[in-house]
């Protein structure tokens, strides 16, 4: 009996420390600034334990029954703490901090109740000096065990959500064990056992399904404050803010940072459009953030812009959210702009329209589906929509990090008989970025920019078409639907950059 109780002290102590570490780690993950998060979480937790210890004096009857109940509550509360905080952060980021400290405080208080209760239960059979010595020894041993296991085994192999559930299961197991140990002394044992088994089942089911829960929650962790998060049928859209920096993430990939997106979008639009004084009809494929539109609409000669973006959630967000419409200069409100929410490939196949300027701003070719958008077949299709003197510009990944991928796009465009003019620009949040101008004739950079720019100057522009040695042309295969050469290059090159 005595050894059994001391063993449960060990478990209970480990669980207590585990919840504290999990809360601290989670807060550092999602809020950043780990020193602050750990010290406030630990402070809150220790203080709450003190509160719990103080309250323990008011528990006078049915010590074992109360202990069991407290264990069950800790088990469920602690067990689900990480999952609850994750989901809270993703779907209701505003009150996240309140919830965090509330949960930490509640768990701390309940854990603070545990040890005094166990000491009092043991005191009935053992001398007080032995109780103190043994209980505190096991308490600190438990803490040591978890503090070592936590970084080495638990976080890397189980993750936070699953670790919390595991300790919840341990708490409930201790409760059930205590029930069995004291089965002769407890009234209403069946009711308590029922509760215990229910808690055990609940946690076990959650543990089994935790993989999906975690991936659902963990994919949405960003260092900055989330100002908007939604899942459309096509992608997860997250907008974060850090000071004055707004960032758009699609499926966890950074799309732009408001600090330097002007460099990207000026480079995307102006080198072509500034040479097309007669451009009246413009097509944008992708670009649902409206930032390319903003640049295009600076040109008075442009009469109509069609923007084809698959995801209505994107165009809706960027035509309604004030912070975002401020960024794209309310481009979607322009009467010149027509938004089509359709599959760009299907739309191009079905449309007969021709355009003077086409912006092709698709995601990087990271999978076979997107690889189709960079194929020779696609560029042949694109050509049918280019007017006689029309130009298109293609976002074509980084010529520095994905050099062969970039030149593969150029080679592919050239294979269709179109003339490619590759260039690059530095966008600090992306790095060195590449674009290809596509037309039927050789391209000459503009002598002046008729619209306001922050990045481009006429003097700089020819230099963008020069490639330094480390980005110079390399041979590459033509990207065809039946070889998907680009996706293979891209995978290899980015894997090399990321690891």
């Amino acid at each position: 009996m005595q050894q059994a109780l001391l063993a449960s002290v060990f478990v209970v102590a480990s669980c207590g420390l585990a919840y504290e570490l999990i809360a601290g780690a989670l807060a550092s993950y999602v809020l950043g600034d780990s020193i602050t998060q750990f010290s406030t979480v630990i402070g809150t937790y220790l203080f709450a334990m003190g509160v719990g210890s103080w309250f323990s004096r008011y528990i006078v009857r049915d010590l074992v029954g109360r202990f069991v109940r407290i264990e069950l509550i800790i088990g469920v509360l602690g067990g689900f703490s990480a999952a609850a905080l994750y989901f809270m952060f993703v779907w209701a980021p505003e009150p996240f901090k309140i919830a965090l400290y509330l949960i930490v405080f509640l768990i701390g208080m309940l854990v603070g109740l545990e040890i005094p209760l166990i000491m009092r239960i043991l005191k009935r059979d053992i001398a007080f000096k032995d109780v103190v010595s043994q209980v505190l020894t096991f308490d600190y041993l438990g803490a040591l065990a978890v503090s070592i296991l936590f970084p080495v085994l638990l976080v890397p192999h189980l993750g936070l959500v699953r670790s919390a559930l595991l300790f919840g299961l341990l708490n409930v197991a201790v409760a059930l064990w205590a029930l069995w140990l004291f089965r002769t002394q407890l009234p209403a044992i069946a009711w308590l056992r029922g509760q215990g088994i229910a808690a055990l089942a609940l946690l076990a089911v959650a543990f089994a399904g935790a993989g999906e829960m975690t991936s659902l929650a963990e994919t949405h962790l960003y260092a900055d404050e989330i100002v908007h998060a939604e899942s459309s049928p096509y992608q997860r859209i997250v907008v974060t803010r850090w000071k004055d920096d707004l960032r758009l993430h699609l499926n966890n990939n950074l799309q732009f940072s408001s600090r330097d997106e002007y460099r990207y979008h000026e480079a995307l639009v102006h080198p072509a459009l500034a040479t097309l004084p007669g451009a009246r009809r413009v097509l944008v494929l992708g670009g649902g953030d409206g930032l390319a539109l903003r640049e295009i609409l600076k040109y008075p000669q442009v009469e109509a812009v069609t923007l084809v973006d698959l995801d209505p959630a994107m165009t809706r967000l960027f035509s309604t959210a004030p912070a975002l419409t401020a960024l794209n200069a309310n481009a979607f409100a322009s009467p010149k702009v027509k938004v089509v929410n359709a599959d760009a490939l299907v739309w191009l196949e079905e449309s007969r329209e021709q355009f003077d300027f086409v912006v092709v701003d698709f995601p990087d070719p990271s999978n076979f589906a997107i690889g189709k958008l960079y194929s020779a077949a696609f560029y042949r299709l694109l050509e049918k929509h280019l007017s006689a003197t029309g130009l298109a510009v293609v976002q074509s990944t980084s010529p520095l990090y994905a050099r062969q991928s970039f030149w593969c796009v150029v080679t592919t465009i050239e294979s269709t008989g179109l003339v490619a003019a590759p260039y690059h620009a530095l966008v600090p949040s992306f790095g060195e970025w590449g674009f290809v101008l596509v037309g039927r004739r050789a391209y000459a950079p503009p002598q002046e920019y008729p619209v306001a720019t922050r990045f481009l100057t006429p003097a700089l522009t020819p230099a963008l078409f020069e490639f330094p040695k480390d980005m110079a042309r390399v041979p590459a295969e033509v990207n065809q639907l039946n070889n998907q050469a680009l996706v293979r290059y891209f995978e290899r090159e980015w894997r090399h950059v990321i690891r």
Partner: protein
């Protein structure tokens, strides 16, 4: 290596073959009480049982009129269409092509579904070698082969080249690239696989096997391969690796609807060693395909002869007289029959019909009875969105499961230029090679659509547990005589000879004449029959065969 499109069983066959087609029975599904997981709605296509019985019983109105016709083609599968295509190109326009179904194309037809077009059965064409002159001519006409049709390595329209990734294999919970299980096999398996491929490459280098098969070399040593089964041939080469045997057996079932233990080694090796086609813009093992399978090829053959086609016409009696070939044709829509007196007849329907239809042709009937035909089941699953890709290799066009009774499925949206997953049709194939052909046909007819779909979902469910819930409609196609079986001793055993031969008024144009069912053979037989007919008619033409 991959599934060859099969074709063949076209028109004029009741139980015999496949009447009904698209107009087949529509079933409301999932409504039988006591079957908890609902089976999606769908159609049963293929064999029309009632008409078959009627044809067998001879319960048909006698011909009420006799029409004279210079050239009659019976059967609108690839063989018949190719014959019509060649006649029309030679300027002959006084012929008539009779098709039993509403639509021509046989197994190469497309099928319309809620999620767009998909294959009815046959679904690809390998890159044609230099000897497949007629295939190249057709592809050039369609603009799919660009430039000189006789170039050793022509350029093909990228849209028709199967997009990457072409195929993948599910084994032990993991998808792998290609069809050879390179993961989870040992060094001995790999060594045997390499040696098998070397043996095939040696045959390829000797140009021992050709498409069309009639141009293959006929040395005694090669023809002897026909007298041993593919399985025994492997064992005789000391190739006993289980994964290699699975791989070869898969190819035989896929191509010939026949297990490797029953397939002639000549045919089995032909499959691996006959392909010499190359492309300037694709790997040599790339295939040509489209969302609706081979229907684009059918359209290419049909477009010049639509006015010459009469559908819904079933030839049930053929008799040669001194002056003409008399062909009695039942028109179910009008519930009457017509007798055609044809100067020249091209029989382009499956050969198993010959004993039932031809009068006074004991030699032909005896030869036809030496044929056996493989029964196939095809299931077209219309899914609202694609099943999850699963672990390992990404989604491919052809998705095959190891150790499965089926042959896997192809994805109709794979070849489409689209990004979003707006649903697709998964076309699942199963050759009923685990039982005798007769038992297979019996199973096709006696089991319900629901029973078959349960099997399909159980098979594919190993890799895609959620497939059943994604499927919004499911058609099954029952093909009782999908293709001739190149069993041991069949190809060079003499049965084909009477059908391959020319005669004054009658010739045969069907893949059955070659002994196995692939597009190239059917087209070759059709063009050959047309050119022989043109010679009899004294019409000058440029051959599409040399």
């Amino acid at each position: 290596m991959r599934r060859r499109g099969f074709l063949g069983a076209l028109g004029a066959c009741g139980t015999l073959g496949t009447l009904g087609g698209l107009s087949g029975t529509t079933l409301v599904a999932g409504c039988s009480p006591g079957s908890p997981p609902p089976i999606p709605r769908g159609r049963v296509l293929g064999n029309d049982v009632d008409l078959g019985h009627r044809l067998r019983a001879g319960d048909l109105p006698p011909p009420g009129e006799t029409r004279k016709i210079p050239v009659l083609i019976v059967g609108g599968g690839i063989g018949g269409l190719a014959a019509g295509w060649k006649l029309a190109k030679a300027g002959v326009d006084d012929f008539l092509l009779l098709e039993m179904e509403e639509e021509t194309g046989g197994n190469s037809r497309g099928l319309a579904t809620a999620a767009g077009a998909c294959p009815f059965a046959a679904h690809y064409l390998p890159l044609p070698g230099i000897e497949a002159v007629a295939v190249r001519e057709l592809l050039a006409e369609l603009g799919v082969l660009q430039g000189d049709p006789r170039a050793p390595r022509p350029t093909y329209d990228e849209r028709y080249l199967c997009a990457m990734p072409q195929e993948r294999l599910y084994r032990n919970g993991l998808w792998q690239e290609g069809l050879w299980p390179h993961i989870g096999t040992n060094a001995n398996d790999h060594a045997q696989y390499a040696r098998f491929q070397e043996l095939m490459a040696a045959y390829r280098d000797r140009r021992a096997f050709s498409v069309p098969m009639a141009l293959s070399r006929r040395s005694p040593e090669l023809l002897a391969l026909d007298r041993v089964s593919m399985r025994d041939w492997l064992l005789a080469q000391k190739l006993d690796s289980a994964p290699l045997h699975w791989y070869v057996d898969y190819a035989c079932r896929d191509d010939y609807g026949t297990a490797s233990a029953d397939t002639s080694a000549w045919a089995g090796i032909h499959y691996f060693a006959c392909r010499s086609g190359e492309a300037a813009n694709a790997e040599h093992d790339t295939v040509l395909t489209a969302p609706d399978g081979n229907a684009w090829l059918v359209r290419g053959l049909v477009r010049g002869i639509t006015a010459r086609i009469q559908s819904g016409a079933i030839a049930y009696r053929v008799e040669q007289t001194k002056r003409a070939v008399l062909v009695d044709v039942f028109l179910p829509a009008e519930e009457r029959s017509v007798r055609f007196a044809a100067e020249q007849l091209i029989w382009a329907a499956p050969l198993f019909l010959v004993p039932r239809v031809f009068v006074g042709e004991a030699k032909l009937a005896a030869a036809a009875q030496r044929y056996s035909h493989a029964p196939w089941l095809v299931a077209n699953l219309v899914v609202s969105s694609l099943p999850s890709a699963g672990a390992g290799a990404p989604r491919a066009w052809d998705n095959v499961l190891y150790d499965s009774p089926g042959l896997g499925y192809v994805v109709s949206s794979h070849q489409q230029m689209r990004l979003a997953d707006a649903g697709a049709v998964l076309t699942y194939y199963r050759a009923l090679s685990g039982m005798s052909p007769a038992a297979g046909r019996e199973a096709l007819l006696s089991r319900t659509r629901e029973t078959w779909l349960d099997e399909v979902f159980a098979d594919l469910g190993r890799a895609h547990a959620e497939l059943r819930s994604l499927t919004v409609a499911a058609d099954i196609v029952r093909l009782g005589h999908a293709m001739a079986r190149p069993t041991v001793g069949f190809i060079w055993g003499g049965a084909r000879e009477p059908f391959a031969a020319d005669s004054p008024r009658l010739r045969f144009a069907h893949a059955d004449v070659s002994g196995f069912s692939i597009f190239e053979e059917a087209q070759y037989r059709g063009v050959l029959a047309a050119e022989r007919t043109l010679r009899r008619l004294g019409v000058r033409f440029t051959s599409s065969l040399v």
